[in-house]
């Protein structure tokens, strides 16, 4: 029996689900041969309430999302957080720096009274999450890697080291040497340092490594000309929830 896979979206842009579709024709067929996709709003309208592997996308920003996520947890054998919002809270957490009423007012104006909001949080702030497919957006390769590992019954080999490793493997000239600054030294790899390779710098979308030396990174950013405020802003974008800015 093929495992049943379901995708659920919470607060986010649904770009992760879109990206999951970004498969070559043959790969997509192989995937569909390997699993039954029973729930995927971006793809199909039929829905089933029975599934083995649940991918949850988006962060949790409303009270009503909490019981919904809990129900998914109870139903699924494996829950995988998909994308930056589900894994680390992502950019939705920027609103956490404001009082919730202000956030509502800024977004909805006079209609604010019709909506509720809570400080944004990642999926594993609400339920236990088995695996993470990180990034904004996550790579198809990594999504498939996790699916294949689950199918083979093993833990996926997702790097625990920082972006610098893959950035060096890619042969890039260091962002700092090009007169910019970068979060790569404290952010999890797995993206292949795609932003730096494309001429940009690391924004931190895959989240901090375990036990990051944030103090040292902050010192380095300041040494390279950033003010304390700028350093904080740099971390805020994706990593507000990790409390590094506090």
């Amino acid at each position: 029996m093929k495992p049943k896979v379901a995708f659920f979206d919470f607060t986010g842009c649904e770009g992760c689900q879109l990206d999951a579709l970004n498969l070559e024709g043959e790969e997509l067929l192989d995937l569909l041969n390997a699993v039954d996709i029973v729930n995927f709003r971006e793809v199909k309208t039929e829905r089933e309430d029975s599934y083995d592997i649940a991918f949850v996308e988006g962060s949790i920003t409303r009270e009503s999302e909490i019981p919904r996520l809990q129900k998914i947890r109870n139903q699924a054998k494996v829950v995988v957080a998909l994308g930056a919002c589900a894994c680390i809270g992502g950019i939705n957490c920027l609103k956490n720096h404001l009082p919730m009423e202000d956030a509502l007012r800024i977004v909805y104006g006079e209609d604010a009274k019709y909506y509720d909001t809570i400080p944004a949080r990642p999926a594993d702030a609400v339920i236990p999450v088995d695996y993470h497919v990180r990034g904004c957006p996550p790579t198809t390769a990594e999504l498939l890697k996790v699916i294949k590992a689950l199918l083979l019954g093993k833990k996926p080999d997702i790097p625990s080291y920082p972006v610098c490793v893959e950035c060096k493997m890619a042969g890039n000239v260091c962002v700092f040497e090009r007169g910019m600054t970068c979060l790569g030294p404290v952010i999890r790899a797995g993206c292949g340092a795609i932003c730096v390779t494309s001429g940009w710098h690391c924004w931190g979308c895959r989240g901090l490594v375990e036990d990051p030396n944030v103090d040292s990174e902050k010192d380095i950013l300041q040494k390279y000309g950033l003010t304390v405020e700028q350093v904080v802003e740099k971390f805020k974008i994706f990593n507000t929830y990790a409390e590094v800015t506090k």
Partner: protein, 775 residues
């Protein structure tokens, strides 16, 4: 002698056997003896580096054993273990040369450490080698052997690169974002040969960031197929330090357990090096001996202005030149220019190691618990940049990747590094290097110690890439090496300060010794017998010297004339030639003089052991040689045939007449003498000492010759010995120099780079061949 041989003497089986097992496990050659008698028998037959000795033994006591071993094999270092320590016995043992003692029950770690320290001290004693070991050695640039070199014009170089590009992929250095990278070269114009350093090293072409090792099919009976992918490639512009790094990789991947993937790539790769003429400010290649290279390349370019010098390093390189290039012989000016540009480049390096790199393994050994690792790694991001950019880092991870059909897959290896958090983490969750300090230290140890010890090649080539890549600015091994050197030196200085309260180890202050006997040898030469006031022994080897002080007059180096096998006293034979010796000659019995020493290496007793020995003394050369003659006669059974030749200028200048008489009648030694000029009473040989050599019958394969005499004698004696077929390694000479301080500081006795008082005064002829100033 086994370099790490230990003899354990203890009557308690449990102590004896447990120590034996500990030391065996620690890698030593261990022998045991239950009694003093048994120990002495063993020492008679076999040499040891260290003896671990119980003092309370049935029969002969430990002290007796110590005394007898001292006469038999004075170089054996003894460590006393005792359950009954008393001030008297330990003082006596120390007097007899025991270097330390431990109280039972002995902690294995303490004993092992003590044995190790003792052995490293033993190891520092000079032994016979063809190269003189000089300590301390400044960081030196390796001598570049002159290889066949030509001049190639830039146009011809261009056509060679273009020719190569038709047969294989050509990679080289290009500019990117103001830095330099190795990449595929589309046209000659892209190629940069004048760069400082590249971001990544060219080793990525031999060990790519990611490569497939196997292809497999999953199933009940899995199918496995090795994958070896290599295509012909030329790497152009490789700097010498990177070439040295590739040589290390060759050692690691092509010798033990040869790696087929690496080998396939390596054999498909042509390396065209380029001398680094504009070093990176972070580089310290000269300190690591990697600034130039004479090996490891097929061709090597040196930019000498309008043209390039191109050195051929392999047949492959020679073939390439023949096939694609127009070259010509260099002019004298061009050869000089090559040397000049290299020298100019050398002068540009700003960083250097403050200790000789040979000392790094030992320094690191001693610095394992240094607080430096903890404090310096505080800002470490564990980001892996240092190991990723390092040309000598080659650790990797292996992972399987399957395709979605879940049937086919590949086993891949990709770069990994010991500074990354999970590098030493096992499946159970245990991380054997869980803190950044231990990871930081491990990396530096690999660079300075582990790799060198395992592969015999430097683990850091001084390229400076890690120092550039490290945002926290802590990665440079140079900085770590210099810091721990400073720390160890500070510790050593502190230890010296503690020792300085003991007067006998004062560097420049002599110990008082009493003249107990004076014999006149000739009107101008006397032999003095001394005993130290504190009752201690001199503890010398034959061939060593002491500095004799007459306070107010000065100090003079004098060879010891007696053998260490004589107990209690020592003798100095002195010709009255200068201020100090003149004052000495005026002394009477009971006078006190100052003695420092013994100094120098002495005769290589270990090398003489078991051999035939030809001893040749000219004039007062007999003074130092007599100590060896006595030593040999006291341990006669350890040597084969022993011949002594002695030459004096006249019968009146013959020395030690009683002993000459004794030797001439002894069946244990074949003795012949001559005088340059006879008189009426002289019935013996007349002629210079060289006339005796053709008369003796020696087996050049078994014989060591020891020659001591005036400098003029050496050249002629060497000539005669060479006629006898003796190898340079087997001709031993003792040199006379102006040894003022005896401790390798003042510089007076220096011969080229060698301090005679430290590495000499005894040298093999083979060693002296490399010392232009010597003979």
């Amino acid at each position: 002698m086994q370099e790490n041989s230990v003899l354990i003497v203890d009557d308690e089986p449990i102590v004896r056997e447990s120590i034996r097992d500990w030391l065996k496990d620690a890698g030593y050659q261990v022998a045991t003896a239950e009694t003093g008698e048994e120990a002495l028998e063993m020492v008679e037959k076999q040499d040891f580096s260290v003896m671990v000795l119980d003092l309370r033994l049935p029969g002969k006591t430990g002290i007796t054993v110590l005394k007898e071993v001292k006469t038999q094999r004075p170089w054996i270092k003894s460590i006393i273990i005792t359950a009954y320590p008393s001030a008297e016995t330990t003082a006596e043992a120390t007097k007899l040369g025991a270097i330390d003692y431990l109280i039972k029950p002995v902690a294995p770690d303490d004993l092992e450490r003590l044995v190790r320290e003792t052995l490293s001290a033993v190891g520092r004693e000079p032994t016979v080698t063809t190269e003189v070991e000089i300590r301390p050695k400044p960081p030196v640039v390796e001598v570049v052997e002159v290889k066949k070199a030509f001049v190639i014009t830039k146009d011809s170089l261009k056509s060679m690169v273009e020719g190569l590009a038709k047969e294989r992929e050509v990679v080289g250095v290009k500019s990117r974002h103001g830095k330099y990278v190795y990449d595929r070269i589309a046209s000659f114009e892209e190629l940069c040969l004048d760069y400082d350093v590249t971001v990544m090293s060219p080793t990525k072409y031999l060990l790519p960031a990611k490569e497939t090792l196997l292809r497999f099919k999953i199933g009940d009976e899995p199918e496995v197929e090795p994958v070896i992918e290599a295509s012909p490639r030329a790497i152009i512009g490789v700097h010498p330090y990177d070439i040295k790094a590739i040589e290390l990789l060759d050692e690691a991947f092509m010798t033990t357990n040869p790696d087929p993937n690496y080998i396939a790539r390596r054999q498909n790769t042509i390396i065209i090096g380029a001398d680094c003429l504009n070093p990176s400010p972070k580089s310290f290649a000269p300190s690591m001996g990697t600034y130039l290279t004479e090996t490891g390349f097929d061709l090597l370019l040196t930019n000498i202005g309008a043209d390039y010098m191109i050195t051929v390093g392999s047949e492959k390189g020679a073939d390439l030149l023949a096939k694609y290039a127009q070259v010509r012989e260099p002019s004298g000016d061009e050869v000089a220019k090559q040397k000049a540009v290299r020298d100019e480049a050398l002068a540009k390096y700003e960083l250097s190691l403050n200790v000789p790199r040979e000392r790094l393994p030992k320094l690191l050994e001693e610095s394992y618990d240094d607080p430096y690792w903890e404090s310096r790694s505080e800002t470490c991001l564990s980001c892996g940049s240092c190991v990723m950019v390092c040309p000598t880092c080659f650790c990797f991870d292996v992972q399987d990747e399957v395709v979605l059909n879940l049937k086919d897959g590949e086993r891949l290896r990709q770069w990994d590094g010991c500074v990354l958090v999970d590098f030493a983490k096992v499946a159970t969750g245990e991380n054997f290097r869980h803190d950044k300090a231990s990871r930081f230290r491990h990396r530096i140890y690999r660079k300075g110690k582990y790799i060198l010890e395992r592969y015999g090649k430097v683990g850091c080539v001084g390229c400076g890439r890690c120092a550039t890549a490290c945002l926290a600015e802590i990665a440079s091994p140079l900085e770590a090496f210099n810091a721990i050197a400073e720390s160890v030196q500070a510790k050593e200085a502190a230890m010296r300060t503690i020792r300085e309260v003991k007067p006998e180890t004062e560097l420049y202050a002599p110990r008082l010794a009493e003249v107990v006997k004076i014999d006149e040898l000739t009107p101008n030469e006397k032999v003095f017998e001394f005993r130290f006031k504190d009752g201690k022994e001199l503890g010398h080897r034959p061939g060593q010297f002491v500095e004799v002080s007459i306070m107010g007059t000065g100090e003079s180096p004098i060879s010891v004339s007696s053998s260490p096998t004589k107990d209690g006293t020592f003798q100095l034979a002195v010709r009255n030639v200068g201020n100090v010796t003149n004052a000495l000659h005026a002394l009477e019995r009971g006078a006190m003089v100052g003695i420092r020493g013994p100094f120098g290496n002495g005769f290589p007793l270990e090398a003489l052991d078991g051999r035939d020995v030809l001893l040749i003394a000219g004039g007062i050369g007999l003074f130092p040689l007599r100590s060896l003659v006595q030593y040999i006669l006291d341990r006669r059974s350890s040597f084969g045939k022993v011949i002594l030749l002695f030459g004096a200028r006249s019968p009146a200048e013959r020395l030690f007449l009683d002993e000459l008489d004794l030797w001439s009648r002894s069946p244990e030694i074949e003795f012949q003498e001559t005088v340059d000029k006879g008189d009426e009473s002289w019935k013996g040989n007349v002629g210079v000492i060289t006339t005796l050599i053709p008369k003796v019958d020696i087996d050049p394969g078994k014989t060591m010759a020891v020659v001591v005499g005036p400098p003029i004698m050496y050249r002629f004696v060497i000539g005669e010995l060479k006629k006898k077929g003796l190898a340079d390694e087997n001709i031993i000479l003792s040199l006379e120099r102006r040894m003022k301080c005896g401790v390798g500081k003042c510089g007076h006795c220096q011969i080229n780079g060698v301090y005679v008082c430290q590495e000499g005064p005894v040298f093999t002829l083979a060693q002296l061949r490399n010392l232009r100033e010597a003979v």
